[in-house]
Symmetry: C2
Subunit: 306 residues, 2 copies
């Protein structure tokens, strides 16, 4: 019997006060069936990203528990940070990992949205795959004007009415809740210290300026090295190897090579297996040929105790 596994990656608007982040994470962790995989806090962004997994009902309970604590401890009127944000819990995406579909995750986003609106009194905007209208699909559009702008508009501009919850804002702000494919944070370093090369390459490969459909990219200078910093928003449609090879081709125009690449945080195993299949031209490979997967199948089939 397949056991659906969902990932949830809430972003909280606190990246400096460790004790606040700890209390939020403790509330999530206290929900039975939830496993917290990762907590990353960034002081400049003044933001923390919590990654946890669990059954469908466990991840909804976990997210709601975290939102409840964040609402009590984070005051958006006093919050400053480099990252745009709408609320104490800024964004909550649900992600299908195993034996679950995107439709399942859309349903979870609606469940959480309804409960956060009714039980916590937080205005909720459904985004990406869970969006109720095209204008709310893109998170950047939902977050336009940030907390301060929404405070002015909410209750006056009907276009800003939330999908769930009140049309008034407390200092806990509002939350965007959605469903999306697993996101991969992927960076490629180039053999140059010239950030303009990274910017030109980023522009060439990203969707917004004509590049790959599920790639967002920026050119940065990191420790004196030009870096193309990519957010991969659907690795099954826009795979890692295609991004990497296109960066290689575009960089070559400037006499520059990729020196190395890095994945920040976690990556689904399938994303790396896709890369291996591509480069080895394993055109007839079946994932059940991976020994560990065959073993997991056999364990699932075996009588208990075996």
């Amino acid at each position: 019997m397949p056991q659906p596994l969902i990932e949830c990656v809430p972003n909280f608007s606190e990246g400096r006060r460790v004790e606040v982040v700890d209390q939020i994470v403790a509330a999530i962790r206290a929900v039975p069936g939830v496993l917290v995989l990762d907590v990353e806090s960034d002081a400049d962004h003044n933001r923390s990203v919590v990654t946890f997994v669990g059954s469908p009902s466990a991840v909804v309970d976990g997210a709601l528990a975290g939102m409840g604590v964040a609402q009590q401890l984070i005051n958006l009127d006093e919050h400053q940070g480099a990252h745009p944000r709408l609320g104490a819990t800024d964004v909550v995406p649900f992600i299908p990992i195993r034996d679950a579909t995107m439709a399942d995750c859309v349903a979870l986003a609606r469940q959480l949205g309804q409960r956060a609106g009714e039980e916590l009194g937080i205005p909720v905007y459904l985004y990406e795959e869970a969006a109720t209208r095209p204008a709310r699909r893109n998170l950047a559009d939902v977050r336009r004007g940030e907390y301060e702008g929404l405070k002015q508009a909410l209750g006056k501009d009907a276009a800003r009415d939330p999908d769930f919850g009140p049309t008034t804002l407390t200092p806990a702000g509002a939350t965007a809740i959605g469903a999306r494919a697993p996101l991969i944070a992927y960076n490629v370093y180039l053999s140059t210290g010239d950030v303009d090369v990274a910017k030109k390459v980023a522009k060439a490969i990203r969707h917004s300026s004509g590049g790959l459909r599920f790639a967002k990219a920026l050119g940065l200078l990191v420790d004196g090295r030009a870096q193309v910093s990519i957010n991969m928003t659907d690795f099954r449609s826009t795979p890692l190897h295609r991004v990497f090879e296109l960066i290689r081709v575009e960089a070559a125009r400037y006499g520059v090579l990729p020196t190395e690449s890095e994945i920040v945080g976690l990556v689904p195993e399938d994303a790396l297996l896709d890369v291996a299949e591509h480069y080895l031209q394993l055109n007839r490979f079946k994932r059940a040929q991976v020994l560990e997967r065959r073993l997991a199948e056999a364990e699932a089939e075996a009588p208990s105790g075996a």
Copy 2:
């Protein structure tokens, strides 16, 4: 607490009589804690390969059970097939998969050898990592002369004395038992129907003629396509991508490209992750960044019921 997992891949000298193979597999499967992952029978070779996994003690019991049935049902005096063989159970390798070392598998090979010698009266030769002398390291050397040759020599030529068991041979023959790294059966097809190109490329890349340390290779013609057929005997030292790229380079000399490659049977996940890391130049990647591995760790750490 890590749970050691060992793979065992006995080869039995029967690939035509399905009912015999079934009885051998049933005996292995009946051992508690054993999971049979795969059974492949080849009529030309008149040989079957059974792949199973389990705890250290379970795999030894499983192998012994299979050997006992094979001994009763297979008569080497009547056996004919394209594949060289010494006995009804021809070869039994133990392979460390998870939380186990090669030394652990050498110890298991000795355990099984002793029991097969004492309990079943089968002469046993330890090979590869379990070999007791350099001349028995290579399986081909152990198997030289096959069953028929051994029948002449055993008891007369002291150099053929087994590591365990009697110096007389029954129609069940002898068995080579050893420990080795996971083996990957890997084929690369070339854009030509000229088998000579595949043979030249195979010669260039294989260890025996000056190529890569842990690659055996042959050039074949398969369905009109030139194929380089490789046995990779230690993918951690001689990885898939290095074999593939060297084939590509050698084939280019003849104006030929790899059209696709294939893995026959099972492959350890690490072998494919190594490939992905190589091509993406993920030089600082940690395997714990693979979401499923982080999840397995978290599940192992979690209090029971979580």
